[in-house]
């Protein structure tokens, strides 16, 4: 099937079997490998994207449901030259190790900060509980977002 969607502000078209996921469309058809595949079961959040403004696991969205949708991936959050504040905060706090979880955390945290610019520790833990990080133990990610919230308050 042909899927027409907007990704990071650009109109894109993909020709895919209707049974594949949005994650496969992004990674394999649209050459946007920033979103990661670590479980394909909605358990880890490595594939987090904004889908019509909502935070979703791209591995759980069928390509067939994407026609006409607006998708923002990690590639649309910031660039190497112009980092999003969440990206800068994560770097400053040492919240990146292997980096495989990082794109998903960046998307989920950017969404959190957008909806609640001054989250407390409980809000941060709750908002990011769907994203698994195997390396950091989450402490540095928490400190990154707490420092961002402090700067905003």
């Amino acid at each position: 099937m042909i899927v027409e969607l907007t990704v990071n502000g650009e109109p894109r078209v993909a020709t895919v079997p209707g049974s594949v996921s949005l994650l496969t469309v992004l990674r394999d058809e649209l050459a946007l490998p920033g979103s990661k595949n670590a479980c394909e079961q909605g358990e880890c959040g490595s594939c987090s994207v904004l889908f019509d403004g909502e935070l979703v696991c791209a591995c759980l969205v069928m390509a067939a449901d994407c026609d006409g949708s607006d998708v923002v991936t990690v590639e649309g959050i910031g660039t190497d030259e112009h980092l999003h504040p969440v990206q800068q905060a994560m770097l400053d706090a040492g919240a990146v190790q292997c980096g495989f979880c990082t794109p998903g955390f960046v998307v989920a945290a950017a969404r959190l900060i957008e909806t609640n610019p001054t989250p407390d520790a409980g809000d941060i833990r709750e908002a990011l509980a769907g994203n698994v990080c195997r390396c950091t133990g989450y402490g540095a990610i928490l400190r990154a977002l707490e420092s961002l919230a402090k700067g905003a308050s």
Binding site: A38, E40, D80, C98, G99, F100, V132, R134, A140
Partner: protein
């Protein structure tokens, strides 16, 4: 050129919490992991695996798979041109099984096809006729039958020594998976001349290279293993997975071939932590002084050797923990069964033994009615003491007493505010009366060897190149996420006195082995090689130019620049290449006595838990720690290792376990294999205890493994404290609390 210069200290040198050089591409999604690689015209690979844990292969029929449109090649063991087996310590594992299958999920055939879906369907279409045999799935039965990879026997002191107080215990540790977030992935590209280039997740490129060229039956220089983005490792990439398969497919098809395991295949495609059964007997005097420790430890190594011989050695050599005891008897067995192969995972044998010896120390403290930390302090092993098991005199720093005292100085938190339901065990789902929640506190200590042991020639090559821009460090070490590039950069900046340092990870053809990214060793080994290379290069240049300092401006003599970097490099970049080795280690004798280890680190953990006794739910409130780090080269990065390591220890304490049924994995996915999430993350305070080590760069010690070792027994001890239960097994499950 001449000119005066003012000495400005380098920025981002040793001791600072600098930024990772790979940080920006990782936060923007531009960092290329192995699973992100792409080559024009590439095919996709898939693996056909054994559906049984043990059996005789009667027939493998590849006809139907080969006939499928889009399938380019189907390979079996008959297509292995060279050595048909591989393995890190013993080449006993078939590249592709033929004749027999020895574990559930063992690879039998591989496919290359135009797209991943076709490859997967073709793999499933391969006819595999297997006569199923009863699997040997109980490691105790395996040991009885003599199915053992290695038996370590330790006898030290007087077997008849006895103490006034005796405690005995039996303990078990379940099988943990490394669960690195990136699954196994790789891309092999044929070079058109019979050779192949491979980009696949790894912890040790040169060990892969050696095994690959032997199995392909090609010359060593026809295989090049390249560094690639690795999404975490924790031991799971020390053994190869798809590496030889990819190269075979690329050479057969003459096209690039990519493979990515999905999560279920990742669980079967890499080795896991050894599950353990342990029997302990401690004897002590009334004052708490340990008199004798006896232990029997059985680790289940699964179907193939992998690193079992080194893992069981660690479990046996650290069976007592960081304590002084004169009389020790340990028998450690690495069993061979038909369970999935076990191998390296962070902590490497010391994790299992630590759960045993620390559970015993708590029992002994309870029997003596002594404070658990005080008992440990009284028996603490220190520099100059003989290690209780091997008798090896600890030559470097070993601040066991200091880690205990630093830990004890961290304030114990107040009870949780019961008003915030998110802080209760089970979170908002808790149904228990908050007043029934019980708090517990537990302690544990650990000791771990650093770098390779037992007479292994642990060498590490690195090179530094001076250019007009600054310096470039080159190494084939694997950065798997731990921050090696950053620490090498810091060491080079400080050692050279230059600000501009780039770290380049190279392939196996360009430089010699850096050894494995394991055993907490790369900061000490590759870091040590980088330091040596930089110091020697600096000396060489200063000697040649009669300088007394090197700066970004060039060689300085008496405050004046006598040669700029550009002038130094007038006839090309200046390279200096070194091989670094740590102090020699030795094999032990028939009683396990000798000096098998190069260096040691200790750590202490204190866990605070809240337990809901009705539902058996546990919330780990805090895990505090004091860790022996030698010298802290990058405090922020060390904290990251500590917090991440504690989370893996917490996972093993309360949730993570691969469940097997007669060798079959029942929970090979992230829905059923539980990983700690943000909601499970305890607060952590860490104190870095700095007593410079013997030979690491600037006195540094490896820091990666200790956080994972004693955090598990500390959490379980805290649950025991909260519930009064014995809890002899990690992980502790709700039923162990509700229905003990």
């Amino acid at each position: 050129m001449t000119g005066t210069t003012v000495k400005v200290p380098v920025r981002g040198g040793v001791g600072e919490s600098t930024m990772r050089p790979d940080g920006i591409p990782k936060v923007t999604g531009n960092f290329a992991f192995a699973s992100d690689l792409y080559a024009d015209g590439m095919l996709w690979g898939a693996t056909r695996r054994s559906p049984v844990a043990h059996g005789r292969i009667r027939r493998v029929d590849i006809g139907a798979a080969l006939a499928m449109p889009g399938v380019v090649a189907v390979l079996t063991q008959a297509d292995t041109a060279g050595r048909r087996t591989f393995g890190l310590e013993e080449a006993d594992q078939p590249v592709l099984a033929a004749g027999a299958v020895r574990f559930w999920g063992e690879p039998i055939a591989v496919v290359a096809a135009h797209d991943p879906d076709t490859a997967r369907r073709a793999a499933a279409a391969i006819g595999v006729d297997i006569e199923e045999l009863p699997p040997l799935s109980d490691p105790e039965v395996a040991v009885e039958q003599g199915s053992v990879v290695r038996h370590i026997r330790i006898r030290r002191g007087e077997p008849d020594a006895s103490g006034a107080v005796v405690v005995e215990g039996y303990y078990e540790v379940g099988q943990q998976d490394q669960a690195p977030l990136g699954t196994e992935a790789g891309l092999a590209i044929p070079d058109g001349e019979g050779g192949v280039d491979l980009w696949a997740v790894s912890q040790w490129l040169h060990a892969d290279h050696e095994q690959i060229h032997l199995s392909l039956g090609v010359a060593p220089d026809q295989v090049r293993c390249h560094p690639v983005g690795v999404g975490g490792a924790f031991g799971s990439r020390e053994d190869m997975s798809m590496h030889i398969h990819l190269c075979m497919l690329a050479l057969r098809t003459g096209r690039p071939v990519k493979m990515v395991y999905d999560r279920a295949e990742s669980f079967t495609g890499h080795v896991h932590r050894h599950p353990a059964r342990m029997w302990y007997r401690h004897e002590a005097n009334e004052d708490g002084a340990l008199v004798k420790v006896e232990a029997k430890i059985i680790l289940d190594g699964g179907a193939y050797a992998s690193t079992t011989s080194a893992v069981i050695a660690n479990a046996a050599y650290f069976a007592v923990g960081p304590y002084r005891v004169d009389n020790v008897s340990v028998d450690g067995y690495g069993a061979r069964t038909n369970n999935p192969p076990a191998g390296a995972m962070r902590g490497f044998g010391a994790v299992q033994a630590c759960f045993g010896h620390e559970s015993q120390m708590d029992r002994l403290a309870a029997r003596l009615e002594m404070d658990p930390l005080e008992l440990r302090r009284r028996n603490a092993l220190g520099s100059g003491d003989p290690n209780a098991t091997t008798g090896q005199i600890i030559e470097g720093s070993l601040p066991t007493v200091r880690v205990i005292d630093e830990l004890a100085a961290i304030p114990v938190p107040d009870p949780a505010d019961p008003a915030d339901v998110r802080n209760r065990p089970g979170g908002t789902g808790l149904t228990t009366d908050p007043g029934d929640i019980r708090r517990g506190i537990g302690y544990a200590l650990s000791i771990k060897n650093l770098a390779f042991s037992e007479a292994f020639d642990d060498s590490c090559e690195a090179s530094v190149i001076l250019t007009p821009m600054g310096a470039e460090v080159r190494t084939a070490a694997c950065e798997v996420g731990q921050g090696l590039a950053m620490v090498c950069q810091q060491i080079a900046r400080t050692a050279l006195g230059l600000n501009h340092v780039a770290v380049v990870f190279t392939d196996t053809s360009e430089i010699g082995s850096a050894g494995s990214t394991s055993a907490s060793r790369q900061t000490q080994m590759t870091g040590g090689a980088v330091l040596k290379a930089c110091e020697e290069l600096r000396d060489r240049i200063l000697t040649e130019h009669g300088g007394d300092d090197l700066t970004d401006d060039g060689v300085v003599r008496g405050g004046e620049v006598v040669a700029t970097l550009a002038e130094l490099c007038a006839s090309g970049p200046i390279e200096h290449r070194v091989v670094f080795r740590h102090p020699e280690t030795f094999s032990t004798d028939e009683n396990g006595q000798g000096a098998p280890h190069a260096d040691f680190a200790v750590a202490a953990h204190r866990a605070v838990v809240d337990v809901d006794p009705e539902l058996g739910l546990v919330r780990v409130v805090r895990v505090d720690t004091a860790q022996d780090v030698g010298t802290a080269l990058n405090p922020m990065s060390i904290r990251g290792q500590i917090e991440g390591g504690i989370m893996q220890g917490l996972g093993l304490a309360v949730m993570e376990e691969l469940v097997l049924d007669e060798g079959r994995m029942l929970n090979a996915n992230f829905t059923d294999y539980l990983l700690p999430t943000f909601a499970d993350a305890p607060d952590v305070e860490c104190r870095l205890v700095e007593e410079p080590g013997l030979w690491g760069p600037f006195g540094a010690k490896g820091v990666g493994e200790p956080p994972t070792i004693s955090s598990t027994p500390a959490v379980v001890a805290a649950i025991r404290d909260a519930t009064g239960l014995e809890l002899i097994r990690a992980p502790v499950r709700p039923e162990h609390i509700v229905l003990p």
